[in-house]
Amino acid sequence: MNVPVVQPWIVLSFCSAIFFIGLAGVLIRRNILIIIMCIELMLNAVNLTLVTYSEILNDLGGEMAVFFVIVVAAVESAIGLSLVIAVFRTLRTVDTDSIQSLRG
């Protein structure tokens, strides 16, 4: 059986595309919810990269790392979302341009 193999560079290009889409979203969008979603996007791009390299280098360490990242990401989004709710309750907005109380 000659299964067609996906070339690693295709996967990696895909990963970096997703990563930079996420980064662009973080930089450009003003809604905190969207920013958090974009951060998740970046994290998953990294996860995919790790899995790819794990396959290429035949090292399970990369896949191990992915699990940690998933756990941390889950926690992060839980905290992030609750922060968003808290921010919305106090300030009645989730727009980052209007949340600038840390200005020096």
């Binding site: 930089l27 450009i28 920013i35 980052t96 600038q100």
Partner: protein, 669 residues
């Protein structure tokens, strides 16, 4: 046993102190009879225990007359192991008896004297604390324990001088005493450190063993002179010698029993105690001894000259005390430590008597202290007159009163000792003449002649208070006996006269412990103080009897001179007018306070003001404030970067990350 001697007054202090504090908020204060009774009981019990210990010493072999008690290990560090220990021996047993004995009498007297005071509880608490500290001072087996008591009595002295602290003059008199004593204490501390580095021990017995047994190296011998001089600086402060004597006359601002107990009988003699305790060190250094004798003789003469022209009854006695302390140091300096200690004891008797008698006069005269406004009190206060006469004869040196024996022995030693110089003896004789003169002047103006108080109404009395020189602090508070009002002088109650009678008896017979050539005292102190210095070549023992007659003659001349001048009012006034300028100088104490003010206080103040205005405010403060404003300015600039906009932070972060990753991949291109 020994610790009980200290503990009883300490407990009395605590009891009276807490009692007083518990009544701070209430109107009712415990009467003097109750608090005074408690305090007197405490010190009286201490006296009884002191007596028991003394008799136990008497029963021992002369060489082994020591009772020792170690309470706890005080300092335990590398190279220094110090116990908190008391040691009673022949020398300090005498001091213990004088402190507790005379102390008990003075406590008793104070019950009467302080009966109208607003806070007798505080007074008796302090008085008991003083006794406890003084007993620690003399009982301490090592220098640090002694120093603990030394500082403690200084504190109590300060507290009691400024007892009536609402009066500004009295409060500053207390401060003066404390500060001047600090100068002396500095010398004491340095001396103590030097002893430790030189001999490696601070315990008196061990120190004596090291000094007496071991052959001292030249370096150690050289250090001995410095040690003796440094410790003597401490004595100058505590025992009021030139140049640090200035605090003692001002200390008369305290209540009169305080002057009697602290500033005449006990605390001021601790310098003599220290020197005679360390006599084995002083004997090694002829230079230091000569210095001690010189300072002593000069102080004796100088203070006596001031006493001649003072008009405040307590000031006369204060300068007299300074002068007598000078005598004691003269004795120590010529190697006659025994005579110094002897004079401490007799002086404690007759000077406490004189001070308490003066207190009785002040009490009876409704707080009048100016002897020019007294006179004729013999008939008004017959009992005080009689006991005061005993003290007067004792200090003038009329046999068989105690002062004669001790003073004569000092003069004989100053004349005959191989360590003495002739001029020291001459100073001593002139001082004896002056002492007899000014004490007789005091006695005549106070008790004999016409009563000058009759013509002085109360209005003038108040004016007199205002006219006094600014340095004159010797007045009891005006409110203390306010309910007496003016009027006839009256005799004091028996609770005050009783202790006076006891002291008068002691002043009369106290000298018999040191009769020349069969001196019990000399024999008793022999294990601690090994005899007198050898007498000079060419001086015969028969001379002693001649000199004895001579010193009585000198005393009689002094007394006669005083009677000649002050017995006749017209003659007094004409003499006072013709010598007005000189007397003014004497009355103003040779302007020593003014000289100190100009030479030390003002320059010190100027330096302090310079350091404050120039160094502190314009340099140090500006530097510190400069740091502050630099931070503020840089903060103002940097705060602009904190926009609070999340996106800008993230962009910055992303760019930074790119730079770092780029550097990691390609290095510095």
């Amino acid at each position: 046993m020994l610790s009980l001697i200290v503990l009883l007054p300490l407990l009395g202090f605590l009891a009276n102190g807490f009692w007083y504090m518990s009544q701070l908020k209430t109107e009712h204060k415990a009467p003097a009879l109750q608090v005074g009774g408690l305090a007197t009981g405490a010190i009286g019990g201490s006296f009884v225990i002191g007596l028991i210990c003394f008799f136990r010493l008497l029963a021992m072999e002369p060489e082994h007359r020591v009772i020792e008690q170690t309470l706890f290990s005080w300092i335990f560090i590398d190279g220094l192991h110090l116990d908190f220990a008391f040691r009673l021996d022949a020398l300090n047993s005498l001091f213990v008896l004088v402190i507790t004995g005379v102390g008990t009498l003075i406590h008793l007297y104070s019950i009467g004297y302080m009966s109208h005071d607003a806070s007798p509880g505080k007074f008796f608490a302090y008085l008991n604390l003083f006794c406890a500290c003084m007993l620690v001072l003399v009982l301490g087996a090592s220098l640090p324990v002694l120093f603990l008591g030394w500082e403690g009595v200084g504190l109590c002295s300060y507290l009691l001088i400024s007892f009536w602290y609402t009066d500004d003059d009295k409060a500053s008199a207390g401060k003066k005493a404390f500060i001047v004593n600090r100068v002396g204490d500095f010398g004491f501390l340095l001396g103590m450190f030097l002893i430790f580095t030189t001999f490696g021990t601070l315990d008196f017995t061990q120190l004596k063993m090291v000094v007496m047994n071991g052959a001292l190296s030249p370096a150690q011998l050289a250090a001995v002179t410095s040690i003796c001089l440094l410790l003597f600086v401490g004595c100058m402060g505590k025992s009021a010698q030139i140049p640090l004597y200035v605090w003692l006359p001002d200390a008369m601002a305290g209540p009169t029993p305080v002057s009697a107990l602290i500033h005449a009988a006990t605390m001021v003699t601790s310098g003599i105690y220290l020197v005679s305790r360390l006599n084995f060190l002083y004997t090694l250094s002829p230079d230091a001894m000569l210095f001690v004798a010189m300072i002593g003789a000069l102080t004796a003469l100088f203070a006596a000259s001031i006493a001649i022209a003072q008009n405040d009854i307590k000031k006369v006695l204060a300068y007299s005390t300074v002068s007598q302390l000078g005598y004691m140091f003269l004795a120590c300096g010529v190697g006659a430590y025994v005579s110094g200690v002897f004079h401490v004891i007799t002086h404690a008797f007759f000077k406490a008597l004189l001070f308490l008698g003066a207190g009785s006069v002040i009490h009876g005269m409704h707080e009048e202290q100016d002897i020019q406004k007294m006179g004729g009190l013999r008939s008004k206060m017959p009992r005080t007159f009689l006991v005061f006469a005993a003290g007067w004869l004792a200090i003038c040196g009329i046999p068989p009163f105690s002062g004669f024996f001790s003073k004569d022995e000092i003069l004989w030693q100053a004349f005959s000792s191989s360590r003495s110089e002739l001029w020291l003896w001459l100073l001593g004789v002139v001082t004896a003449l002056m002492t007899a003169f000014y004490m007789s002047r005091l006695f005549i103006l106070t008790f004999l002649g016409e009563g000058r108080w009759k013509s002085h109404g109360h209005a003038k009395h108040d004016k007199h208070h205002d006219n006094h020189a600014p340095h004159d602090h010797g007045h009891a508070p005006k409110d203390a006996h306010a309910h007496h009002g003016g009027g006839e002088p009256h005799e004091s109650p028996w609770i005050m006269v009783g202790p006076l009678v006891a002291l008068a008896v002691l002043s009369l017979i106290g000298g018999f412990i040191g009769i020349p050539h069969m001196s019990w005292l000399e024999h008793w102190l022999e294990p601690i103080i090994p005899g007198f210095a050898p007498i000079k070549d060419g001086v015969h023992h028969e001379t002693e009897w001649v000199l004895m007659g001579f010193s009585v003659l000198v005393a009689l001349i002094g007394m006669g001179g005083a009677f000649f001048i002050y017995g006749n009012r017209a003659r007094t006034e004409s003499l006072q007018n013709s010598l007005a300028g000189f007397l003014k100088t004497l009355e103003n104490k040779w302007y020593v306070d003014e000289i100190y003010d100009a030479a030390i206080v003002r320059p010190l103040r100027a330096v302090s003001v310079f350091l404050w205005k120039k160094i502190d405010v314009s340099i140090i403060d500006r530097t510190v404030l400069g740091f502050g404003s630099v931070s503020e300015m840089s903060g103002g600039v940097l705060r602009e970067s904190q926009t609070g906009s999340t996106q800008i932070y993230i962009v910055t972060f992303a760019i930074g990350l790119l730079v770092i990753v780029g550097y990691a991949l390609y290095g510095l291109v």
